[in-house]
Symmetry: C2
Subunit: 217 residues, 2 copies
């Protein structure tokens, strides 16, 4: 299996601007990426290639992963990997591609295994807001489109080329995009992500509403 982790290395996590400055956003995004890569590597999934698909060069502190730089839009770059993999001429190409977003700070080896063990020509892990946070492709003829209601688009596209399955996972459904998502990463995230947040934020409970938020230290 070829596992692809798209990563916006140029200006990551802009929607966290209300709570993190640009240098912090970059650090935090790299922590989440590191947790995702470790979860994949620590899983029992037979990974032949773990590739970070980055918009600009990025230094990885990870022996398991390689970096390919592709500054085109996300869906174009991922479809290029799919074409390359399922092209009959692709020498030594893997026969399965998994795409896992770099901001899935909550993923564990087990959630990666559940994604990859699920049968189906296309397997989709829905994200909040009708997005697609991870998918597995086992057939040619399928193209991704991550814009908008991508979960519904991917369902339709999968039905055109084969069988579709979904994975019901809180961890895979939670991408860390907005300030409100940070609390999920603080409580349920991988160790690198959690340590980074714990050095800067404390958990706070609003007594009236009972809502849980993060406060800057």
């Amino acid at each position: 299996m070829r596992v692809v982790v798209p990563f916006d290395a140029a200006e990551p996590k802009t929607r966290l601007a209300p709570v993190l400055d640009p240098a912090e956003r970059r650090e935090f995004a790299e922590r989440m990426l590191a947790d995702v890569l470790r979860a994949v590597a620590a899983s029992s999934v037979p990974v032949e290639e773990l590739r970070v698909l980055a918009t600009t060069p990025v230094d990885l502190d990870d022996d398991h992963a390689t970096v390919r730089v592709d500054d085109r839009p996300l869906s174009v770059a991922v479809n290029d990997v799919l074409d390359e993999t399922f092209d009959a001429d692709g020498a030594g190409a893997a026969d399965v591609v998994a795409v896992v977003m770099a901001d899935l700070a909550l993923v564990t080896p087990r959630s990666i295994e559940r994604l990859c063990e699920r049968r189906g020509d296309v397997v989709v892990a829905p994200g909040r807001g009708v997005g697609t946070n991870a998918l597995v492709v086992r057939t040619s003829g399928f193209a991704v489109d991550f814009h908008g209601a991508s979960y519904l688009d991917h369902r339709r596209a999968a039905a055109d080329v084969g069988t579709l399955a979904t994975v019901d996972s809180f961890r895979l459904s939670t991408d860390v995009d907005e300030p409100a998502d940070l609390v999920e990463a603080f409580v349920h995230g991988g160790s690198r992500t959690r340590q980074w947040l714990e050095a800067r934020f404390d958990l706070a409970v609003d007594d009236d509403e009972g809502r849980v938020t993060l406060d800057r230290q």
Copy 2:
């Protein structure tokens, strides 16, 4: 197994006030409750008693469930059920209690099965915002407290009385509390919930951000 579904029948879903009027909120809450009850009844879980724990009397269009009215705060009412179940004097008491919130519009029979099949003296399904959306209790001495960071509180309380397990489920993690949650119910919800929403809202994609929302028809 005794399955308890707490339901605020007096003034349900107040945080949906920006998009639904009081009569709509009540109707919508009852649709979600009906989907939750159907999912439990359609699951393979051996349910001896399916009980709606309602704050005021409620008419159910469901043969499988009974209603008990208890107008005390949620945690007090649920702990009373736990005490009654695990009290050695409780005649014919079940030995396992599952608590499933009434606003889990996305639950399916399979997600209920995953919750109830998981081993552990206490099994918790985390909700967004460090909440607890569902749990299974198989031991005496455990009490719930749904206020605030209840996921963390329940983890600690479980460790005091026995073994703890969690369930990684997008469907169980998604309670429908706020306007932004409606889109999840529209796309992934049970049939009664979806039909109610589809009669009033359309899915819309914001072209700039690619965000998916619901628009009133």
